[in-house]
Symmetry: C2
């Protein structure tokens, strides 16, 4: 894409819906996958990043991300002719650093033993006072960007009983809820969160945002957040019907299941939703379920380890 | 799908087009993938199989296939309420036998040391004189079914300089040529064939069908055919601009490249076309190229071996 799309809808790729008969037979439910693995930069994050960069007047954007949001923001800024700095730990996977650079952004590498990521972002903010400090989830523009996925799910030829969405910071699920609501779609929305980092599920139980003491070291690295964001919580607390806390084992089984039954390469975070179905088959039996796969960017070594188990 | 679609277009899933900026940057060409990995039964073969079963009056269908055509014909017959027998070597992968059975067909297992596949098909034909003996490629109905992919490529928003299609028996490439011609699309069509089983390339050079003495033991198991079919040859000999003979190494590199740069799980046969581009980068430099990925059904162990190299 060389032109600059002036609307988000023009810029994003529609999600890819996959219906697999063998997968549905295996799970005893009518399962439709909505996969963002073929979105620009390989995850849903591009929807949010492009919406942020398109609708703010700044010339420079700063984010802390060693994962999908950094790549997405870098690419969005590249398309829109803006500058982007991504703060990343200096021990991030080489391919991730390269990906950010390949989209024309600066990878600002830090030693996390010497300086925290947010501390470094604050330093850069002082250096570039006109920069936009981009959050991967806690921003109305992020939620609005991600809501386009909800619109697409609402417009799909099939009406779903349930839609399951991964939860990390809550940017995607709050967007999907907003998109479904905007279309008057009454599908029940469920979250899928790693059991190891179940702050969102605990937040729902306690009626307020609960914060993990540390970043949970789940294999679902897109969900290694300490809590959902404030803007996200406003939507999640009423819009989510329930949150499934998925074991590490079922996340990995989910990766293998989508490989074998749907020809789909997904990253562990993207397998949270199939993991939730695998772990709760009685609950979903006979229902028409849309499972959102958030992205496909996974290191080859990690993927191989998961396949070999 | 429980209803019986009465037209092929209604029955098939549209192909999935994927444009990956990192992939295009890597290859120095504007590459668009048209992938059939999410087609019913995971390969393009369903297009052909459904068209055959839909447009013939028989109640029973017999095919020899240990691979994608067997599964596709089984599923097509299941949808149309017809009976299907698939002759398979008794040492076929268990998952392939299970897949055929899961679609309601009979897996007729033979010891290939005692009886040849076609010999067994002839035995069954005598037993079921009203059966349709289905060829995976050498049948006008197969070509017509596969031509739907050519129609979709012609209708894509981008006009391609070149379209590259895997060649085994020639069923897919002859169909794609027909579909493009039916739409007046003048993209140049190239074949991609394993160097180890280069009968089609040799046929083009000699102007007549050349037959391999043995089934070539290429990793691209969908192209282990001894020659292209007669009906296919009629179209291929004038419609194909050239055939790339792809080394085993580049087929495997193609699988890894699509995994890493396009989040795509493909079977080795499906990677013939990216292999052709990897091996001929100068030829394709700066062109707009559509590479057809024929399917995604690969054993986990084989896939892991390819990833580990």
């Amino acid at each position: 894409m060389n032109a600059k799309p002036q609307s988000l809808i023009e810029a994003i790729r529609p999600t890819t819906f996959i219906e697999s008969v063998p997968l549905s037979n295996l799970l005893g439910a009518k399962v439709t996958v909505a996969t963002e693995t073929f979105q620009h930069t390989g995850s849903f994050k591009f929807r949010a990043a492009y919406n942020v960069a398109l609708n703010t007047p700044n010339d420079i954007y700063i984010a802390a991300s060693s994962g999908n949001f950094g790549q997405a923001l870098a690419r969005a800024c590249q398309i829109l002719g803006k500058r982007c700095i991504v703060v990343m730990p200096d021990n991030s996977a080489g391919v991730k650093i390269e990906a950010v650079r390949s989209f024309g952004a600066t990878a600002d590498l830090i030693n996390t033993k010497e300086i925290g990521r947010w501390e470094r972002v604050q330093q850069l903010a002082q250096q570039y006072p006109d920069a936009y400090l981009a959050s991967a989830y806690d921003d109305p523009l992020v939620i609005e960007g991600n809501s386009t996925l909800g619109l697409e799910i609402a417009d799909y030829k099939e009406k779903f009983d349930a839609v399951i969405v991964p939860i990390g910071g809550g940017g995607l699920i709050s967007g999907v809820i907003k998109g479904l609501c905007d279309k008057g779609d009454t599908a029940q929305v469920y979250g899928a969160e790693p059991l190891m980092g179940n702050d969102a599920a605990r937040s729902m139980r306690e009626g307020k945002i609960i914060i993990n003491e540390l970043e949970p070291q789940t294999i679902a690295d897109g969900a290694r957040t300490v809590s959902v964001g404030e803007h996200n919580w406003q939507i999640i607390q009423n819009g989510v019907r329930g949150i499934f806390e998925v074991s590490e084992e079922k996340i990995k089984e989910g990766v293998r299941t989508l490989f074998a039954y749907a020809n789909l390469k997904v990253e562990p975070t993207g397998a949270l939703t199939i993991g939730a179905v695998l772990e709760n088959q009685e609950f979903f039996a006979g229902k028409s379920v849309c499972i959102v796969v958030s992205g496909g960017n996974v290191d080859t070594e990690v993927y191989q380890q998961i396949l070999s188990i």
